[in-house]
């Protein structure tokens, strides 16, 4: 039979998750807020220039680092924006908020949650890396091909299906495509791109299909071999050589 639990018991158990102790950081508070890896968030309460500051002592950013996420300037800006949603600041990889003595508890809750949102970025990193890779491919193509590179163009395949090709390289008159370029951030999209490129190849046999892959991803030699059936497979670092060759010939 299920034991009846009283509201008092639940409240006591929930309160027990919060602990406070004096350490060399100040007063360290463990909050009932959890990073994605299971760690409870701790915040420190200190006095700086006569006012109270509640901060995470870099805990959120340190967690992100341990999860293998590089703190880029863009990510730092994004985190600063997130911090503002909680009325906090993200300064020097530290989440913090100044407050009055009677506001410390709620400030601690806000800082803890803001710090946890930094940690949540670790879950999004794969998606972000993939999207960053696609952006990097586009930027590299445009920096070399200039106006001869168009983005997100519709192309009809041999069987009537319409595809959105991320990048199209045009001939010198900018009227005819000479290459369709697809960015391949990871292994999971190999088969879908293979089908798409095979269909497009049937309709446009004179236009080159180029697949740019991420050398640091999980793409294997056999994935590259498969894609070579319908395209030229190039690592990101070789785009300049490949594209310059393509632009010179056409």
């Amino acid at each position: 039979m299920t034991r009846t639990v009283t509201s008092e018991e639940i409240e006591a158990a929930a309160r027990a998750l919060i602990t406070a102790r004096q350490t060399n950081l100040g007063i360290e508070l463990t909050m009932p807020v959890v990073y994605p890896n299971g760690h409870l968030v701790t915040v420190a309460v200190t006095v700086e220039s006569g006012s109270y500051v509640v901060h995470d002592a870099g805990g959120g950013a340190m967690y992100l680092t341990s999860a293998g996420v590089q703190m880029t300037r863009q990510l730092s800006q994004r985190l600063a924006h997130l911090a503002a949603q909680y009325g906090c600041e993200f300064v020097g990889a530290r989440m913090q908020r100044r407050c009055e003595p009677n506001q410390i508890a709620i400030a601690a809750a806000m800082v803890a949650n803001a710090s946890r949102t930094i940690g949540d970025r670790a879950l999004e990193v794969r998606h972000q890396v993939e999207s960053d890779f696609r952006v990097a491919v586009g930027e590299k193509l445009r920096s070399i091909g200039g106006k001869r590179v168009r983005d997100n163009e519709q192309v009809k395949g041999k069987h009537g299906r319409i595809y959105r090709v991320p990048h199209v390289v045009l001939d010198p008159s900018e009227s005819r495509p000479i290459a369709f370029v697809v960015a391949l951030p990871n292994r999971s999209v190999v088969l879908s791109h293979f089908g798409e490129l095979w269909d497009i190849k049937g309709a446009h046999p004179d236009v080159a299909n180029d697949v740019v892959y991420n050398e640091h991803s999980d793409i294997r030699a056999e994935d590259q071999d498969l894609l070579r059936e319908v395209s030229t497979v190039i690592p990101l670092s070789r785009i300049p050589d490949h594209l310059n060759g393509l632009l010179a010939v056409a």
Binding site: N24, T30, G38, H39, T42, T65, G68
Partner: protein
């Protein structure tokens, strides 16, 4: 077991070495970090990453070691984390130093009382990473930031 789990298991079980010695960078924050590419013995291309992080002034000293494989932490050691860790599947908690390993990443306590270099060696050993000759240590303590 999925294909990725198999890849992780194989990666962790294979002998590895670091590409070059790491350098610690603090970027004026509360913690300092360092990293190095990991390459399987006999391979040329790095397929993993060793990530180290250490809080610069917290006492007791708090630091972590991670093996990153395809942007996921697949092996971790958190020394003196300073707060509870809750295992999501069992809701059990761990307060002490602990290890986490793919795929379940449940925290397993380690009550040994070691210094930084000993924890580093323990981690390199468990991750099957060849112990490099140069193993720079993090600088703990408040830095004055003087322009010398």
């Amino acid at each position: 077991m999925s294909g990725f789990d198999d890849d992780v298991r194989q990666f962790l079980a294979s002998p590895k070495k670091i590409v070059r010695a790491w350098r610690w960078r603090s970027q004026r924050s509360d913690f300092t970090k360092a990293g190095a590419g990991l390459v399987l013995m006999g391979d040329a291309k790095p397929t993993g990453w060793l990530q180290l992080a250490a809080h610069t002034y917290r006492e007791p000293k708090k630091f972590s070691f991670s093996v990153i494989f395809h942007r996921r932490r697949v092996l971790g050691l958190d020394v003196e984390p300073g707060s509870y860790h809750f295992n999501a599947s069992t809701l059990t908690s761990v307060l002490a130093t602990h290890w986490q390993e793919w795929p379940n990443m449940e925290a397993i306590e380690d009550h040994r009382n070691l210094i930084y270099s000993q924890w580093l060696d323990a981690f390199l050993g468990r991750a099957k990473i060849e112990r490099p000759l140069r193993r720079p240590m993090p600088s703990f303590g408040v830095q004055l930031g003087l322009k010398l």
